[in-house]
Symmetry: C2
Subunit: 424 residues, 2 copies
Amino acid sequence: MTESPFPMLPVSQALEIVLQHTSPGMPVHLPLREASGLILADDVVANEPLPPFPASVKDGYAVVADDGPGTYPVVGSVTAGQVAEFEVKPGTVAYITTGAPIPSGADAVIMVEETQPVDNQPASQQSVQQVEILTQVQTGSDIRPIGIDVQRGEQILAADQRLYAAEIGLLATAGVTQVPVFGKPKVAILSTGDELVEPDQPMGPGQIRDSNRSMLMAAIGEAGGQVIDLGIGQDERADLERRIRRGLDEADILITSGGVSMGDLDLLKGLLDETGQIHFGRIRMKPGKPLTFATAQVGGRKRLIFGLPGNPVSSLVTFYLFVVPALRKMAGWPNPLLNRIQAHLGQPLPLDAFRPEYHRSTVTWDAALNNGRGGYLAISTGSQASSRLLSMRTANALLELPQQEGVLPAGSIVTALQIGDLFT
Amino acid sequence: MTESPFPMLPVSQALEIVLQHTSPGMPVHLPLREASGLILADDVVANEPLPPFPASVKDGYAVVADDGPGTYPVVGSVTAGQVAEFEVKPGTVAYITTGAPIPSGADAVIMVEETQPVDNQPASQQSVQQVEILTQVQTGSDIRPIGIDVQRGEQILAADQRLYAAEIGLLATAGVTQVPVFGKPKVAILSTGDELVEPDQPMGPGQIRDSNRSMLMAAIGEAGGQVIDLGIGQDERADLERRIRRGLDEADILITSGGVSMGDLDLLKGLLDETGQIHFGRIRMKPGKPLTFATAQVGGRKRLIFGLPGNPVSSLVTFYLFVVPALRKMAGWPNPLLNRIQAHLGQPLPLDAFRPEYHRSTVTWDAALNNGRGGYLAISTGSQASSRLLSMRTANALLELPQQEGVLPAGSIVTALQIGDLFT
């Protein structure tokens, strides 16, 4: 009998090995518009306060609060973006718009709704000569003082923060338009197999379409990677070698899909030369047993190499379990692991006595679970054959089913690894 | 007193009005590589079965199952992508690799690990002349029959399905490389205000940086829209008019940020002419009271116009509550509403007696909640002043706090609208 030379590793141990060999990339500075979704590589401190001047919160009149209600002359007007060149002395007021700097002398703003034009002049015009103030306000009323929103020297963002819209707004507020971030890891993807044709090409006898590469390119993009497409490698040494070389030269991670046979492994070993190392070749899991992980130093940097199984489901599941955490760690995520939640099993599921199973499932929020406190309900995607990509359709979670005999009853609590949006 | 001409609408009613005026865009055909994340506009049916031929699941020997264990001559070999030109008659076997078509006559595959080369020849080579079969297998063993994964004529994807990696793989499997999808809605964004300078420009006296536009451009991208940047409009009629015209001509949705004052409204009304209509101008909510929604027919299509408040928080919160659902509906989402979950309040929160509040919060999964069945824990981002963008930092949910007196105690169950990834 011919046995694989690799021991069968548990998933947790294999993942540990992968992450041990993975380091965050070198931080780069990217324009604000390209930083969305990336991880900040440095703390960001505000160099100026916000607002940088005392600003009006309303359209109305800048007043001396102590003056109180009464009719006052309007000594000027100031709109947003201007600076008043006059002073508001006691017994006078000035027209002001939202966001405009408070003129010196004034210490409160009365909103226009609490004033009355004298002689029936329209209230919101700057031509008003006199205005009646209808209410008494306190000092500081409707004024945003300097630094109320952001103080000078305040840390507005911490390194390791992922940048979404609000954080992008904060960077713009602080004038940080070249943002220190971890860039998108480059991931090269190579399909292997003489039976494969491009999806838009006609299939000859014995051929099938290369669906894995399109699928994995989409998955790389979803995971925040940048795709380098190495095409379909023919089972011919020179061709494979050329494509793998390019991947190792240009990418941080090289993925091959199509199953790494013993012969391919020999080829890969040859290409890795003295710096390369194959760390494992088989995982105790269902689906996806044959998964090869290797590393190599190329151009002074360590590259990760994943030989994913050829079956589409095994290929995508091992991508989520091993490549996504590595990619996230490279991209600077402080916790690169897949999000793990608890879910209520919506149906009984048979277990596998020999391998832990990563059961494809559609998980949805159900407000009625946990006595109306809400919870996730997990429904299987059906037959879990590893060649049946339909079992990944609409799957947003992998249920971690234990390796044991028997059946897990409906209603059981299982842990689930998030692989897609948790709502549909 | 000068009052707003608009009644104060409840959020639910305003959202209903927005969605009534929103329709899905016209479906387009996009290359497979550009379809990721979009909504499929048509059912997709497989025109061929998968596999298209009976295929070997293993590297090994194609046999006649009834022959049973014993030593047999190897009459040929077939590898993936080839078609055998020989027949496997009873009493003979053929070498076969994973994915290769089963030669005619054979009805099972014996994996190489269950065979023994005769005369110590290496088992995996095609030069083997005779091989010993060590086990008895059943007819069909280790063969994927035609159509086992996908049947001819089977619907592999339904319209309305969002396309993630697995669905992209299924489209590639079916040879669909021009995919019928709803394209990304075009969203034009205009900042208004003489006090605004671009984030990379020095601030003069009375000026502040335009952070809202950068923030909203990131938010549009996150929500699946395509940004058209209209820049900063000066408070000068001709300039504003030119920018707004461009937005209405080119975009499906026009967003202005900077607060729509009465004067701006008049300008907008003038530009909308006889086809335009302003539907509402104020919402009963905290933050974000002043929100204008209008529609106009331009070039035979209805455009949506949102006048977002100038305060950064109000601006982003109203974007999530009203623009995101509209954008999703245009992009073909069958349920365009924000995902709503239940969360356990991690601290007491004061309520507002006059307006329902959308409290910015960081929600994380806590496996210990609900007696170990798991649940979401919501922590406030702190001071909720509408100018304080720091209150949106790390916020991934808006807690829907009811309009009432008093304090909601820690541990209360609140509903939360998801505005970001639900893990950190």
